[in-house]
Every structure is written in structure tokens, then in C-alpha cells.
Symmetry: C2
Subunit: 561 residues, 2 copies
């Protein structure tokens, strides 16, 4: 077999089923190899950012990697932002990048560029395949790297001559541990949890003083959440959650966690008074952005920080560490802090972020996968959906907007039996609208809600936070032509329903809460993709001509972002 | 002033007028600085690939740089593909990338990434501003680097704390030579052309034997074209042109040049028998992609290659070198080889790439700027437009598709009095459709033609070239499920007219040559942006069920790509 066939066969043998692809000439042998491999599913993406974001969504929900298929340096470049998000999510992902033939590279042909350097900025593992005889083993090694620990982006660069040359051999699945586990493996792996942190943390929690567990990554899956709730019940510790979790299991029957606020002022208020902060799959909290007069590190000065599991603990190891911790604390027979069951009814009146959230909370179906890139418009979503039927909540982990629609594509392919609800800010959705076409092509059961507030509202807020207080010259009461041009999306307003239909996705527009509820319900009920354009006011905006903020009720501390 | 104000003021002082921007929180002080700077034009782009491609188009047509404004590593990543194209075009471009505050970077906040490494892959110059006191000088140095020689991408990374800190000073224009020149500078700079290559080339051309000049970059502007035509008339040399020129001046009254073919077989045929190949602003030709049984270097073995000007000669230096060469050859009083005047009449009948080209050739207005990302559908364009009124032709220089629509945005802003015609393949246009919104926002006079063939037709051709001859297993006569899924854009078909309207661009669909001619004429006649969706058959396609190619008339050597 040739190198391309060995790579595809090896990835298949290691459990990779789906390839999110936008190939070019240098990847044609990989396309042919996919043609020849039964069971390989090639999903077309009209832009590489869709491919990488979809692979992220797939990996988060499947717990094992999908592969991408990208065309040289520019294809990798187009996929870079969502690979950055995948890296921050610790998603297992095999990033397959074709390159010119080895002998062609010194000629510096038009598409030649430094793939390896660009790949290094987003990958936990990068390898360039240099010999057709190792192509299969290199592919297996990529899966091994992608699935080690919590998971990472593993980039394999495959030159065209390695793809087309004969003499390759497929490699099987490497003997590595996977994030998922079996009961028999549990017993063995229990020894892997070092007792040190557990004993130290248990002693601290028994010693009293306000304590909080900051849960992140694998600690936000059900097994860990239940153990964390035991710990909380035993010692009164609060259960906090990182601001933008990759995958949070939540809803009726599951212990509730409180997400750290996006703005540092909010997170500092949440952490005030905490004396013991136990990190479980999360990192010590820092401000998302720097501001001139706000600290970057958010832990109170007199707070002791413990890391229970280290940065690379997987789902199994994290649950075990929490169980060991709970076992060392008093056994409290209290029920875990499950949220109240939903009592919400569909909202009425004007359509706002708040009424959209109420409708989502009222109608969210059992087992939904919620992709949240709602930004400022999504402020009310966590509270409104806390008591909804069980669901997974997937966030923008790396701050590179344009993640939501692709993530929904991947989640839907990973979970064919589950409804996917994608809650999208309009500014963010415009970074990767091509994902809508893939939803239509693949017939994915995704309900997209676009919050059409015609604004980069978060930047309107940040502009006021950063510029207005300092008295910097901005002209016209803090609203000069650049701000008006760069943060406003209303001239012309984007017709999201029309845009979706142009790519084959049925769509409707809602301007009242009643309309939204009806359209959202219809989209959920019908199979296949749908888009509902929710015309909502922006939460933040430029000062009006009189110099006062245009939004009368500005929450002082947005709790989500 | 603060660092952001110094950077903006310095860029303005060095002649930068337009900022193609998609800022984020870390760039809010730059937005405020743009607000405070009269004469700075901030152009909003809904995706960074639009910003970088627009800056490329602006720089090609204005001959001086626009600036981008990008948000951290992911923003740079999204702009990377079109920066790659700008690098290949040698476009002067100041790529301004915001970063976290210096003290925030060690905290590894979610958006932290290695900006410098990614920037290095596309930039001829990268600098990180480390001190507010040098911010103004750093910005001036970026302009200086961007405009040196032919031009290059100069990336300046500006941390947020440098932006917001006081103590900065604006810097003026540095004393560097610019690509454009004045008559007085000409006389002085004549000495800069080394006589060695000129004398050697003149001797070779006088010595006889089939010769060709391969023109590229600055040699494709009118002054050089006229001197090259003198050389050709004097010694019978052919005038060839690089395959994808950044900016080719052509049309009625200008010397015609023959573009090298995209496929190596075609270029090899064009170069067969040439004994003296003189590079003028072009590089020694190589194959765009590697193929198993085709050479990468396209120069015949017994051909001597000369480089008249070196790789970094600007418009002035290139013209002078050609003039010096012509002066050393016999003075032939023949007219330059201008193409025949246009005799075309609007086409009738089915709409195809050929009839679209005929309509474009018949209707192209005087002074048009043509952006060509038509790919396979554009095969007939060079011949059909050779005798059209004078125009500039801008190509996809780096092979990173998704360049055309953004390039048209930048060209229109650089040339407000000239009509821009953007000829787009549907597959390529889907990489950066957000550019349509910027056209609407800015009211740009761009006529977009989308060749809607619902196919990655060039990959259909390449698949057959690469896979079918080698007998590799592909299943179903060379058309398995992956090929059918990944190269076909017809399920669902993209509604380009609807997509354009959703972003505020008036649009129409044409299915016959008559309809296309009418809609194209109307779009040219009306101010502001328009899109015409031209539904054309794909030139290449998968084998039919009987195993025969689906396209009956496959040209053996596409002359464009």
C-alpha cells in the first residue's frame, strides 16, 4: 500500500472514524485512500475552520479523536483559530496536514510555507512523516499522542511523495490508556493517583475555613461531579467551575456548579473570602484579558491553592482522586446539591436575551448537547437552563470566536441520537458560517439560534471599561468614527434567515418571545438542521448623542462573560 | 500620548490611510486612537481573512501599504492564508496584531498563543513592541520594512500595556526609497542597476537562439512592459509572464504577454526550445504542485537562465534595467506587440465559462481592476479580454483560495474612481464570503461574478491526473464515496444570489449567456456592489457510471490553471 493508504488504515485501526476535510491537490491520494477504506466517513467542510472546529466538537463528545484533512500551510492557517480552542479544551484531535512532496519543497513553489512552525503554536505533538515505511506507525503515534492524558491536538504532516509512494504498512492501535475506561482498569489505575495531594487537601478541608473546589475539564463529567458533591456536602466547600468549560454535564438530577465570571471583578467577588481553593482539572484562575487597574491573578492573597489532580488527569483519574478525597472526609448522607426541577413556562413579550434564555430553558430536550457561543446575549442562559432536563454544555474554551457552528457539526456527528442546540452570537457566527452548509449536507439535527443584535456588544462594553474611565481622547463623548464603524454590524443588518437558506438550512426570523418559542419548538421537533434568527437588542452599545449609555439596564457583573 | 496613539499617528505620518480591522478587547486603545486621528479610515471586516486580503488588494493597487488590525494569535491565524498570498505578491502591508499585556502573558490566559512564530511564517519582517517609548518608531519601522524593495508583509505585535501606557511619541516617515519614484530620483538611481547582468543578457540575446523574457512582479507594469516590448522587437524574444501575477497591466494598447500555464505539461510545452530565458522580476519557473512523473523545475535542460534584476527590484529599477538592456540591442522601429482591438460582441446561448468570458471581454469598462480567482471556469478569460480597454489583472499569487473577494475590497478602496470586477470560483468564494458585507457597508463599486459550478472542479481534474493513471485502488472506477463527498458542492447547491442579498449586496442569477450579459451590464452600470451568480457547468467532473469522463471536451492544457 502507499503512504496515504497506510495512514488512513492506521487511523481507522486506532478508532478514528470521521475525517473533517477540505483537501487540495497534495491530498488527493488521501482522498483516494478514504475511498478505499470501508468505514471511514469523509465530511466535507467548505472552510478549514469548520473542519478543525468540528473535530473539536466531535472529540469533546465522543471522547476519542476525529481527524481533519487540511491543505498545506494556508489550510492549516485557516484552521488555526479552532485548533487553538481545541488545545484549550484538551480535545483529542488528529490534525492531518498535507504538504508538498519532499523534493518539491526546496523549489519554493507558491504554496510553500513553514507548516511546522504554525502547527507548533496549537499542537501538543507535531510530527512530519519523512519515510513511507513509517507512515502507518506515524499515524498510530498521532492517535496515541492525541489520546494521552486528557487529550491534545496531534498534528501529522504528510508530504505528497510519502502519500503516493508504495512500501507502506498499516499500524494497529498502540497500547496506550484512553480517557474512557473499564471497571477492571479502574482497580489497577487507582494506584496512579498520588496520595500526597489528597491527604493534604483532606487535612485542609477538615481544618475548616471557607473552601471551594474549582472544577474543570474531566471534573465536569457526571462521575466527578457526584464525588465533588460528596466533598462539598462533607465540608461545606462551594463547587465552582471554570469560566468556559469544554464540556459540562448539567441539568436536572446533577450537582450544580457555579461558573466563574468572565470579568475579573466578578470572579474576584466570587472568590472573596475563600481560604482553601482546590483545583480539580482546572487551572488557577486568571483574568481573561488584562486591564490597567485590575489584577491578572484572581486568587485572594490569603488563599491557599491546592492542585488535586495535576493538569493532565483524565476522566477516570479525576473521579478517583475526588472519591479518595471524599472518603477521607466525614460521611454526610445529604443529597447532592441538585438544582430545583424546571418550573419554567414559555416567555411572552419582547424578544431579548432574557426571554430567549427562558424559552431555551423551557423547551430544552432531554439529552441535548448545547453549544454556547452566545456571548453577551447569553447572560441569562445558565440560570434559565439549570433545571432543564439533563444535557451537556460546550463552551468557547480559547476565546477564538467562530467556534460554535463548527463545534455543533462535530457534536452532532459524534452523538447521532441527540439533539444539538447551538446558541450563537451574530458576530461570532459570521467567522464560520460555512458550517451551515455541512449541517445541510450531512442532515445533522442541529437547531441554531443566532442572537442578531447587530453589534460586537462585548467590545462596546470593553471600550467603555477601558477607554472611558481613563479620559483618553476619543472624540464625541467616547464614540468616534472608528468605534462606530468597527463595533457596529447594523449597516447593513445581516439577514441570518436568508443566509442560512442560501446554504440549504431552513430558517425563520423571530422578533417576539412568542414567535421565538414557536420557531424554536418547531426547529427542535423537525429532523435536520434549522436556524432561528432571534432579533434581540444589544446589551451594550455606544453612548447616545447625549453622552449617556444607550442601554438603560446594564448589569454590573455579567456572570457568564 | 499612549502607545496606541503613537502607533496610529506614526502610521498616518508614514502614509498609511486605511486600516482593515477586526479588533478585540486587547485592541480597544487602538480603536480609540483611530477615533482620535483625523484621516485614518477604519474599515470593518467580519473575518480577519477579509482584512488581510483587502490589505493585499489595497497595497497592490495603491503601491503603498494599508494596515490590518488583528486580535491576538487566533485573529492572526484567521488572516494567515491571505497574508501568505500577500507575501507571494510582494505586497507592501503593515500587519498590526494586538497581544495581551506583557505582564499578562506568563499567566497563559485562554487567548495566549505564540503569535511571533505564526507571524514569522508569512512576514518578511516581524517586531514585537516592547517599550512604549519606541512604539512610534516601531510603527514607522514597520512601514519602512513594508515598502523596502518590491514590498513585503511587515508584522508589528503590540501588547495591550504598550498600547495603553503613556510616554509614547509619534515618529515621522523614515527616509527610505518607495516603489514609486520621481523623475529626478530616476537619474540618480540609474547607477543602482548593476551593469553585469545587463551586459551579459544583451550579449546572449545578440548571439541569437530562441529567447524568452519571463516577466513578473514590477515588470508587468506599463513602463516595464513597453521596454520589454522593445527588447522583444529587437531580438525576437518572446514575452512570457509568470502564471499568477500580482498585478498585470494589460488590454488595448499595451504589449501582450503570454502567461505560463498552470499545469507543468503546459508550461514545459511553452518553454520547449527556449535557449535563453531572462528573468525580469520573476523567479525561475517551477511546477505549482509536484506530480510523481513530472519534473518540478520547468526550464529546459539546455536553456541558460539569466536574472536581469534580482528578486527585490522595484518598479523603477526594473524599468531601468529593461531600458538599459533595450539600449544595448539593435534599435527596431516596430510597434510593440499590442493585441488586436476588441471585436467581441455579447455571447448568446448556454452559459459556460467560455460565454461568461466573452461577455466580460465585450463589456469590461475602461480602467477596470479585474480580480481573478475564477480557477477552472476562467480558462477562457485571458484570450477573451486581451483586447478589452485597458485594465489591471490581479491573480491568486499564493494558491491560498479565498483571496478574490477580499482583494476586491482593498482594490476598490485604493482606486475609488475605477470599477472593480471580481471573477470568483464558488468553492474559493466560500472561504471569505464575509467580504460581501464590507462591500455593502463601504458602498464599494465591485461587480462580483460567482461561477457557480457546484464543484471543486480543479480537484476533480487533479484526482484523475494523480490517481487514475497509477491504477491505485479507488473503487467504483475512480469515484468512491470520499471523492463524491469531498469534491462536490451540489448537495445542497449554494444560492449565491441569496447569500449576497443576506449581506446587503444586490444580486441576480443567470442561467443563459443573454441573462448573464444583461445582469453583468446592469451591475457595471449601477454604483455600489453587485453579485451575479453565473450557473455554469463544471469543466471537470467525476467519471460517469459507465466509467467515462463526464466532461466530453476536456482541454489537454488549461492555459491559466
Amino acid at each position: 500500500m502507499n503512504g496515504a493508504e497506510a495512514v488512513v488504515a492506521s487511523l481507522r485501526a486506532c478508532g478514528v472514524e470521521v475525517f473533517f476535510a477540505n483537501p487540495g491537490t497534495s491530498e488527493m491520494h488521501l482522498v483516494a485512500a478514504l475511498d478505499a477504506e470501508p468505514g471511514a466517513r469523509a465530511v466535507p467542510c467548505l472552510f478549514e475552520g469548520v473542519a478543525t472546529g468540528a473535530a473539536d466538537g466531535y472529540g469533546r463528545m465522543a471522547g476519542r479523536p476525529a481527524a481533519t484533512l487540511l491543505h498545506l500551510g494556508p489550510g492549516l492557517g485557516n484552521g488555526l483559530a479552532n485548533l487553538h480552542n481545541a488545545r484549550r479544551a484538551a480535545t483529542p484531535l488528529v490534525n492531518l496536514v498535507g504538504d508538498h512532496a519532499t523534493h518539491h519543497k526546496p523549489l519554493d513553489a507558491p504554496l510553500e510555507s513553514d507548516i511546522d512552525s504554525a502547527a507548533g503554536t496549537v499542537s501538543g505533538w507535531v510530527r512530519r512523516c519523512r519515510d513511507v515505511r513509517t507512515a502507518g506507525a506515524d499515524a498510530a503515534a498521532a492517535v496515541s499522542a492525541a489520546t494521552a492524558g486528557r487529550g491534545r491536538v496531534a498534528t501529522l504532516v504528510l508530504p505528497a511523495d510519502v502519500s503516493w509512494s508504495p512500501g507502506a504498512a498499516a499500524a494497529g492501535a498502540p497500547p496506550v490508556s484512553r480517557p474512557t475506561t473499564s471497571p477492571s482498569a479502574d482497580a489497577v489505575a487507582g494506584n496512579a493517583v498520588p496520595d500526597g495531594p489528597v491527604a493534604e487537601v483532606a487535612a485542609a478541608l477538615r481544618g475548616g475555613g471557607p473552601a471551594a473546589l474549582l472544577l474543570g475539564g474531566p471534573a465536569l463529567r457526571e462521575p466527578s461531579l457526584r464525588e465533588a458533591a460528596r466533598v462539598a456536602a462533607a465540608c461545606g466547600a462551594r463547587l465552582l467551575c471554570e469560566t468556559f468549560p469544554a464540556r459540562l454535564e448539567r441539568g436536572a438530577g446533577l450537582p450544580a456548579v457555579e461558573r466563574l465570571a468572565y470579568l475579573p471583578e466578578g470572579a474576584l467577588a466570587q472568590l472573596r473570602g475563600v481560604r482553601h481553593l482546590v483545583l480539580v482539572g482546572a487551572r488557577s484562575p486568571v483574568s481573561f484579558f488584562a486591564y490597567p487597574r485590575t489584577p491578572g491573578r484572581l486568587v485572594p492573597e490569603d488563599c491557599q491553592v491546592y492542585d488535586l489532580t495535576g493538569p493532565d488527569s483524565d476522566v477516570r483519574g479525576t473521579r478517583e482522586a475526588l472519591a479518595h478525597l471524599a472518603d477521607r472526609l466525614p460521611d454526610v448522607q445529604g443529597a447532592p446539591a441538585a438544582p430545583d426541577p424546571a418550573e419554567s413556562s414559555p416567555p411572552t413579550g419582547p424578544l431579548t436575551g432574557e426571554t430567549v434564555a427562558a424559552a431555551v430553558g423551557a423547551l430544552l430536550p432531554e439529552g441535548a448537547v448545547v453549544v454556547d457561543e452566545a456571548n453577551t446575549s447569553g447572560l441569562w442562559l445558565p440560570a434559565a437552563t439549570a433545571g432543564a432536563p439533563r444535557h451537556d454544555w460546550l463552551c468557547l474554551t480559547g476565546g477564538a470566536i467562530g467556534q460554535g457552528l463548527p463545534l455543533a457539526v462535530g457534536a452532532a456527528l459524534a452523538c447521532p441520537g441527540r439533539p444539538v442546540v447551538c446558541l450563537e452570537a451574530d458576530g461570532s457566527a459570521m467567522f464560520t458560517p460555512q458550517a451551515l452548509w455541512t449541517m445541510a449536507r450531512e442532515g445533522l439535527d442541529v437547531t441554531v439560534v443566532v442572537y442578531a443584535n447587530s453589534s460586537y456588544a462585548i467590545l462596546e462594553m470593553e471600550y467603555d471599561r477601558l477607554i472611558a474611565p481613563s479620559g483618553t481622547t476619543t472624540g464625541e463623548q467616547g464614540c468616534g468614527p472608528a468605534r462606530r464603524n468597527l463595533l457596529d454590524l447594523s449597516r447593513p443588518a445581516l439577514d441570518w434567515a436568508g443566509l442560512a437558506r442560501s446554504m440549504g438550512v431552513p430558517a425563520a426570523r423571530a422578533t417576539t418571545a412568542e414567535e421565538f418559542t414557536a420557531e424554536f419548538a418547531r426547529a427542535l421537533a423537525e429532523p435536520g438542521p434549522h436556524l432561528v434568527e432571534a432579533r434581540v437588542p444589544a446589551l451594550f452599545g455606544p453612548p447616545s448623542r447625549t453622552g449617556a449609555p444607550s442601554t438603560p439596564e446594564t448589569p454590573s457583573t455579567p456572570s457568564v462573560r
